[in-house]
Assembly symmetry: C2
Homo-oligomer: 412 residues x 2
Amino acid sequence: MTLTRNDFVELDKNDPMAHFADEFHIPEGVIYLDGNSLGAMPKKAMARARKVIEQEWGHDLIKSWNKAGWFNLIEKLGDKTATLIGANKGEVIHCDSTGLNLHKLVAAALDMRPDRKVIVMEGSNFPTDNYMVQGLIRQLGRGHEIRFAEDGEILGAISDDVAVVCLTHVHYKTGHLHDMDAITKKAHDVGALAIWDLCHSAGALPVDLNGSNVDMAVGCTYKYLNGGPGSQAFVFVAKRHQGTAVQPLTGWWSHEAPFAFERDYRPRTDIRQMSTGTEPILSLAVSEVGLDIFMRADMDEIRKKSLKLTDLFMQLIEEQLDGYDFKIVTPMQHDRRGSQVSISCNNGFPIMQALIEAGVVGDFRAPDIMRFGFTPLYVSYVNMWDAVERLRNIMENGSWDRPEFKQVGAVT
Amino acid sequence: MTLTRNDFVELDKNDPMAHFADEFHIPEGVIYLDGNSLGAMPKKAMARARKVIEQEWGHDLIKSWNKAGWFNLIEKLGDKTATLIGANKGEVIHCDSTGLNLHKLVAAALDMRPDRKVIVMEGSNFPTDNYMVQGLIRQLGRGHEIRFAEDGEILGAISDDVAVVCLTHVHYKTGHLHDMDAITKKAHDVGALAIWDLCHSAGALPVDLNGSNVDMAVGCTYKYLNGGPGSQAFVFVAKRHQGTAVQPLTGWWSHEAPFAFERDYRPRTDIRQMSTGTEPILSLAVSEVGLDIFMRADMDEIRKKSLKLTDLFMQLIEEQLDGYDFKIVTPMQHDRRGSQVSISCNNGFPIMQALIEAGVVGDFRAPDIMRFGFTPLYVSYVNMWDAVERLRNIMENGSWDRPEFKQVGAVT
């Protein structure tokens, strides 16, 4: 049966998560399907920033390192994120960026497997992960190599010369979801360690790091977790590895006694060894606001709505845009995808620009991918209908075919 | 002639920089002498945060990477900082922390001197620098070693086996100032590279990196530059080394074509190679507000007032507190010190706590240093008189000798 707009209005009326949308600011007239790039702003972000700036910085000044808990914010936020990714208290902190944290983890992991030289990675992954490991290998100069494998080839690439398997759980471009459990198991079977990048899965779907016996992980807070532009990443090290996994960017926050100001480095033996030095506090503190919304949500409910939104979006694309050059590249199977839908299209770039101008914000990834991310906390069912309707109008009247939409160079 | 309070009131009346104090918020009744730990809040910080949160994040969302210049903010701020430290446009960016930037620079410099194994550092330096280099050495595993030398021993420690001389310009604890020019020259004479940490000199006194032919430098923005708690550090690489000095934390922002999403890393050949990945934008943007105040100030005037403030403070300590256990450890000579005065005192910890309670905010560094930092932009002459007066009262009535002031554990 063909869907109508009313079907979507009804779904919204019966959506137990609909009230969460009130906690975010979405600009008037905008359908925001780019939460996988930059999550929307929680309305309470401004109040938190005001508190940090006027009260903590302006009035309390250095006292805030203790009084406002600045020094321990990295652990406080980590304990909250832990509940979303199947980790325990004391296994996660927020600090630095995803890439820096990945450098730390891979360096620590390679030290734990000194006789092995191979790191399995996905060549088509978001490149910062590959670049960081390439930089590390060059720096170590000990003959490590990356064995690149694509989706479908990964289990086969994990042989007993592998030190570390380092993969991104959900692919940034296609949205495909790796089988964390099976791949981690295979890594362990051959004696390797498994490091997962959760940039496109934390907050997007339930993740169970300890359930899958994952060794280490990193992830981003400014996408599905709505932490604010560039807000600090998180890093996970399973309890069993803490004290053994020692990262090399050994700033004073990772010292056993940071305020003793000793001359020589002594590593902490807890998760804080993964920190480096003084964090940009304003960004860190404001990122807690997005996280706190998740503390009141249920990841299973989020996943249920996410799959329904994406199922419907794909169905509408196929129903309403049949005959145009759109090919859905995200897997249809639920257990094979995250919370995004990627569509390949030769004119994807100008079409996406036209769509953004029409108020439907997705983004484009070269060479031909139109990318739509779905954050169930603030995306509604009727958004699906309206987004596809606006895309259909653009295709029907050809309004994407304008010179100003073809100027590449946008950071989207 | 003995000084009176009125002398200080007169000095303030004739201070051409006095108006800058209006641009900062200092809590009622507080004399803030801890700008060398956390600079005071510029009053416009809140407006900038509001713009970033409500307009750029909340309303414009991902468009802000271009429209609000988020992606190029690291260079925009760097070009401003360059004017304060004797660097040129395109030689400085803001990113990451001081420690991380030091790791990058020392790693790059060691690669440029592959046959040398020695790094000269000051053992009593703020430890994060030493820790970072110790971590790097351990990671490289190629037999590098740190040759620790203290003030007065440094020139003698620079021999022709030295790869890198890595020092902090002004000492965090004693406030002594190294001779950047002479030490850099000696480093170059033996074929070594000179890396300077400007955490306690950027914004505190005129620095002339290119005038001294310095190779690379790092520094902090949350102390004298008033950038906000933990705001991003800056990193300088002299133009002549850009393209040759390649740092190993190779995230996507340092790639030659970051938006081509290539599989393999290709280093940029400009200063941006020193960046890593997505920066916490809110902290970064707000830190520009403090920097902009400096763009209207004159570093020579700042230095003149700083020296006068510290001269007077030391004179008052000696006049008013004669007979107590206070010993000024900061050198008296102008060319041997930064913008802080450090006083050793056996009961320094509880005395500092009592002083803070009395509204004079300095800090304490183990084992016995009471530390006072002087930011001429917002510290007045009469603050000198009143601070020492309050300290004298505390000593005379013994009010520091209370159990609650002796509980160590504060992060100050």
